[in-house]
């Protein structure tokens, strides 16, 4: 008995020891920088100088400027559109890969094919859209040759549309992966049981398959949201500077050494992401599902 009580604290110590590296890492590289950003957002910024005197000037400037508020709304709008697009394109793909393909080998091969674009660099993937979407790009040439259009479509590149097309393509796989994984876990007997009970394909999908894939949808949506909300490269390369996301603002502010303003935008972006993730996690109890 005394042996047991003696061994409990020791075990406790060793579990704490196991946590230590992770805790130190997170403190140093996550918690401290976030606190630092919050702190810096209240610093006083002059044209070529920054001093730690506390002020609300940068915050006031952000919320009184149409450009900044506008970019907040643009970010939200593009995020929602890209989220919807990746879902619309990704879900049927995941349904095919995860559920309709019967052979495990084939579905693995298909998933790998989805990932292949990631073997090239991010920048090349984004820039490759330019010769596709440009005024003299592949799509316009094809449509012109086919006689479907007489004038090249100019809205394809350097617009919000091109940013949405580019982002949807890049982030779609993050939606497909988790959904396909959840769908592949569904016991086929369940679907046959539903069929045997007289349910048609539509009912089986909406009442059985879709609810069971929800955790995958939520995880996919979190992946896509986090990446799209922090985006700056795709909008930088494909919008011709016409679409300014919060990420782009941070890049330009940091580029001109406006650390206080960059921090304000950083804090706002972090809060938005936190709210979005918390919202998604309310939909599904991931602890139960995984």
């Amino acid at each position: 008995m005394s042996d047991m009580t003696a061994s409990v604290p020791r075990k406790d110590n060793s579990t704490r020891l196991l946590l230590l590296p992770g805790v130190i890492w997170m403190m140093l590289f996550l918690i401290t920088p976030i606190l630092m950003i919050v702190y810096v957002s209240f610093w006083t910024q002059t044209t070529f100088n920054i001093s730690p005197d506390p002020t609300l000037a940068s915050w006031k400037q952000f919320f009184s400027s149409d450009t900044y508020i506008g970019s907040l709304w643009t970010t939200m709008r593009i995020w929602l559109i890209v989220l919807a697009m990746t879902f619309i394109v990704g879900y049927p793909t995941a349904l095919f890969v995860g559920l309709l393909v019967k052979s495990k080998t084939l579905s693995t091969i298909l998933l790998v094919i989805c990932v292949i674009p990631f073997w090239t660099s991010f920048l090349i993937r984004v820039l490759a859209w330019r010769p596709m979407l440009g005024k003299e790009g592949a799509i316009n040439i094809l449509l012109l040759k086919a006689g479907i259009i007489q004038q090249p479509i100019e809205v394809l590149l350097f617009t919000e549309l091109s940013v949405i097309i580019g982002m949807t393509q890049i982030y779609c796989v993050f939606m497909v992966g988790p959904i396909a994984f959840m769908l592949a876990r569904i016991d086929r007997n369940i679907i046959e049981a539903a069929r045997d009970l007289g349910a048609g394909f539509g009912r089986i999908f909406w009442k059985i398959i879709f609810p069971l894939s929800m955790p995958g949808v939520v995880v996919g949506a979190i992946f896509v949201s986090v990446m799209v909300l922090g985006e700056f490269a795709t909008s930088g390369a494909l919008s011709g500077r016409k679409v300014n996301l919060l990420g782009n603002i941070i890049v330009t502010q940091v580029g001109s050494l406006k650390w206080a303003m960059a921090s304000v935008v950083g804090v706002i972006l972090t809060v938005v992401m936190g709210v979005v993730i918390a919202g998604f996690l309310r939909i599904v109890d991931l602890k139960r599902e995984l």
């Binding site: 539903a194 069929r195 045997d196 009970l197 349910a199």
Partner: protein
């Protein structure tokens, strides 16, 4: 047979070169309980899936209530299927599972009617009070009942059960066996039950159909199959017989136990001598020989509650099992690795031979 509710005619199913069902024909009457017995790979699950409509046979016909349903999709057949792993909808409660077919089936019912019928079925399988539990919050036996209630709620004329008791522990299996039978008698529905367990098949079925390599090798009542297995394979699957090889010639069978007179023999493609486990007797190796005498060494015994299984090994390594019912008196004890003579009444043996007698 009067009023066959269900009929198979020459059903054949192949997967590539593998013939899983080979020209299977069968009639099943109203309110019958049929057990399909066979080793794994004998095609019993495939047969059930063909009947349910999850597979289409390559040739042959399936009739149900006088209609040809060979190519009818599963949900239009009115045949219930209970899956081996229950296949409950994991995200739904017990009552939503049971009511699924009533709500989302071909002819959806009003919510109040669904609720009433689902509750009725849940009460019938003895789960009243558990309606709103999630199916992951109930035990294996309860899940089995939910699966059954979900199928029965559709009021099928024919219920297919794919090894429904396989996932349960032995105790629960015995109880569910009784309950399945009681439920069936109450509803007057035909049950087709697939099982790999000879005990289950013999205990449950009004009729036992033995399958092997995609063929029906015997079909009859439980005691018919048990007392007069149609072939050495059936005797083997029943797991109740010691089978000996040898030669049947001119009314005598010659095997490791000597030459024994054979009063009758069933036609077969090979000569096999079968003796039921509980028909065998042990004699001391020194006692004078009379009738069949099989020299064997005692290996071990197993206590089964109402009987004792004794295991002997013959000179060529064959294990011979011998069952002693304790109601017949205290068992003799045998010494391990010691030689004994096994014998039996030749009139109680079942003999298969190329020359039928």
């Amino acid at each position: 047979m009067e009023a066959a509710v269900f009929r198979l005619e020459g059903v054949t199913k192949r997967y590539g070169d593998l013939v899983t069902l080979d020209n299977v024909s069968l009639d099943v009457g109203v309110n019958e309980y049929v057990s399909f017995l066979g080793p794994s790979g004998s095609g019993k699950t495939t047969l059930l899936r063909v009947i349910a409509g999850f597979e289409t046979p390559d040739s042959g016909r399936v009739f149900f209530e006088g209609r040809d349903i060979t190519y009818l999709p599963a949900h239009e057949r009115g045949i219930g299927f209970v899956f081996q792993n229950f296949a409950l909808f994991p995200h739904l409660t017990v009552i939503k599972n049971v009511g699924f077919g009533l709500t989302h089936g071909k002819t959806p019912l009003a919510a109040a009617e669904v609720d009433r019928r689902a509750r009725e079925m849940i009460a019938m399988v003895g789960l009243a009070g558990m309606e709103d539990r999630g199916v992951d919050q109930i035990s294996g036996g309860q899940r089995q009942r939910v699966a059954l209630a979900r199928t029965l709620a559709m009021e099928p004329k024919l219920v297919l059960l794919d090894e429904p008791l396989g996932a349960l522990d032995a105790n629960l299996r015995g109880r569910m066996r009784n309950e399945l039978r009681a439920i069936r008698e109450r509803l007057g529905v035909t049950f087709l039950h697939v099982t790999g367990s000879e005990n289950e098949a013999l205990a449950m079925g009004d009729r036992v159909v033995v399958l092997d390599r995609g063929r029906i090798i015997q079909s009859g009542t439980a005691d018919q199959v048990y007392d007069t297995p149609a072939s050495p394979d059936v005797a083997h699957y029943l797991n109740r017989f010691n089978l000996f090889e040898g030669v049947l010639s001119a009314g005598h069978f010659t095997g490791a136990f000597g030459t024994v007179r054979v009063p009758s023999a069933r036609g077969s493609d090979r000569d096999i001598y079968a003796v039921r486990y509980d028909r065998m007797r042990v004699r001391s190796a020194l006692a004078p020989a009379d009738g069949p005498a099989l020299p064997a060494t005692f290996v071990a015994s197993e206590y089964l509650g109402s009987s004792i299984m004794n295991f002997f090994e013959t000179g060529d390594g064959q294990v011979v099992e011998l069952e002693h019912h304790l109601s017949l008196g205290a068992p003799d004890t045998y010494e391990a690795r010691k030689d004994y003579i096994l014998t039996w009444d030749p009139d109680q043996a079942i003999v298969f031979g190329r020359e039928a007698l």
